[in-house]
């Protein structure tokens, strides 16, 4: 887990990316943007034979081109698709209808997630990355095991030919965040930086109603308070774990939280509540509000003729 002291604020060279120098390349949008000469870009396509190597192994990225360019604007570039897998056993009988929390499932979830995150970090380090963006968490709970698969794109600071590094926030351990490249760019532009993917999980048995209560409610439209209370209990416990992990990571806030709230498919009397998100910390002196330009698009959707309407 990335601890608070591991994150060092950007040095003087890490000022917000400004307009490129006049001798530099063309820029896309923002201050200093020069309108691209498309004809010149077309001519650049014929210079492909002089391509330089970007390293011993190829770069892989599941980011879209727009996301790659956005990361580029804050001084980062993709390194490779990074993933980690955790698969942890759950004891027999853990899901039998009882009362209270299924502690084995919670323990297995956190252990599997930790294993997956550690594998992602190892993969990121080996690629020279400082963190992982766009992380997707795949969670599978079955009767006897919990599988967690974490996949994202490892990113590394962009270093220009003069050796200048363009992203100067120092992480001692790679960060992991489920922010898209767009969200990452907006967040860092406002002075906040991601620390760690934090999570909370709780599996709680919904208590049985008494036979008398069940019979008495059979013909009524009533709230099943046992389920309502179970969900509240699961949520409170999971959010408590999340809060604890957030503090442990040194974060001052959480963004992009995702919630999984459902009955367990093979044991519907158990409510599953999982929440995960990105712990963030502000490194600037104060939050800076992005200036937002208002755009009125003129390219309304075109009404197209649908041949299927002829058959109606």
């Amino acid at each position: 887990m990335v601890m608070e002291e591991q994150l060092k604020p950007p040095g003087p060279a890490a000022a917000a990316p400004g307009p490129p120098s006049s001798a530099g390349p063309l820029a896309l949008g923002g201050p200093g943007h020069q309108e691209a000469d498309l004809a010149e870009l077309g001519r650049a396509l014929s210079s492909g034979q002089s391509a330089r190597s970007t390293g011993p192994g190829g770069v892989t990225s599941d980011l879209t081109l727009d996301e790659v360019l956005l990361l580029h604007s804050v001084g980062l570039e993709p390194a490779q698709v990074a993933f980690g897998v955790g698969s942890v056993s759950v004891a027999q009988g853990a899901w039998l209808w009882s009362s209270g929390e299924v502690a084995d499932a919670r323990q297995a979830f956190h252990q599997a997630l930790d294993e997956a995150k550690e594998a992602v970090r190892a993969s990121t380090r080996s690629a020279g990355g400082i963190g992982v963006v766009g992380v997707e968490v795949e969670l599978r709970v079955s009767a006897h095991r919990v599988d967690v698969i974490v996949t994202g794109t490892a990113v590394r600071p962009f270093t220009s030919e003069d050796g200048r590094r363009h992203f100067n926030v120092n992480y001692r351990s790679p960060f992991i965040c489920d922010l898209s490249a767009r969200d990452f760019t907006v967040l860092t532009g406002a002075g906040w930086y991601p620390l760690e993917l934090v999570a909370g999980a709780c599996y709680v048995h919904a208590p049985r109603r008494s036979v008398g209560t069940a019979i008495g409610q059979a013909a009524q439209n009533v709230e099943l308070e046992n389920y309502t209370q179970t969900l509240y209990q699961a949520r409170e416990a999971a959010m408590g774990q999340l809060q604890s992990q957030l503090a442990q990571a040194g974060g001052t806030g959480l963004v992009d939280a995702k919630i999984i709230d459902r009955p367990v498919h093979f044991a519907p009397h158990v409510v599953e509540f999982v929440v995960y998100g990105t712990a963030i910390k502000m490194l600037s002196e104060r939050h800076s509000h992005p200036k937002i330009a208002v755009v009125v698009p003129l390219d309304d959707a075109v009404r197209t003729f649908e041949a299927t309407s002829l058959r109606q």
């Binding site: 990316p17 400004g18 490129p20 390349p25 820029a27 896309l28 949008g29 923002g30 943007h33 691209a36 498309l38 077309g42 001519r43 396509l45 014929s46 492909g48 391509a51 330089r52 190597s53 192994g57 190829g58 770069v59 892989t60 599941d62 081109l65 727009d66 360019l69 580029h72 604007s73 804050v74 993709p78 490779q80 698709v81 993933f83 897998v85 955790g86 698969s87 942890v88 056993s89 759950v90 004891a91 027999q92 084995d104 297995a108 294993e115 006897h144 095991r145 599988d147 996949t151 962009f158 220009s160 363009h166 907006v186 532009g189 200036k291 330009a293 208002v294 755009v295 698009p297 309304d300």
Partner: protein, 292 residues
Amino acid sequence: MSSPDQLNWPSAPPVAGGASPQPTAAMTAPGTSPQPFGSGLTTPDFAACLAMGLQPLRLVQGYFFGQISGWSAYSAYPLRQYPCACMETGPHSTGWLGKVSDLDSAWVTAHQTALERLLQEAAAIGAHGVVGVRTEMSHPTSETSCEVHLYGTAVALAGAPAVERPWATQLAGHKLAKLVEAGFVPGWLAYTRCTAMMAEGCYMEYYGSGGCGTGYQVQPVRDAHELARSEAIGAARQVAAGGAMYDVQMFVHESERYNATYITCSLLGSVVRRVRQAMPLATPVATLNLGR
């Protein structure tokens, strides 16, 4: 190879009831063809291509339809064994992990063949590249058949020397312009995959059935997922050596057959190469869209 001005354009289809229309001034302007062309481009992509000096020539395709033998589809080469751990009397079976290499190589070869055919078709009409390439892969009849269909728009660069092998990319229009603006040029499309097979055996009956309690790492499951992903990503890194594979679409498919788990991870993306150093781009402008 002919220069862009001497390209062998497809002949115009006959017009019923009269001669073919004469080209107008707009049609003969620089960047447009004196003859009809075919393309799969949207109108904005078409306009951006013309502005970049890319002349659309024709919709080109590469197609491959093949059979995958039952042996290839199901046979795995063992890599690792998991000895019995159930500590119980009775018959025991060994769990193992392997790669279904023949199946993977069949699909990769199918994709490469279709891509080569697409590029050959583009090269034959003097194209420098193919933009907006779309890929369709399916089992049209059963799991023992494979179909790969690539199609895109062949383009020629005005004034550029002829090339033996055109480039190909999934991008077109302004997205292609942005790629080049960031210092990259398109290379080709790459497809890699790996199928891992895990036969459970006694090991999984013990560790995967909860008999050992909570908190034990279920190694075969983890190994199978890691094998499929790491091999597919590793192959992609090899394919894109010296460059980068962007816009990767990663698919993971899992199925159960004959008491074994098959996990397939495949990656499809555009290989690009850097041709010039690009400094970090300027700060993007945040916008609020009032149109929605």
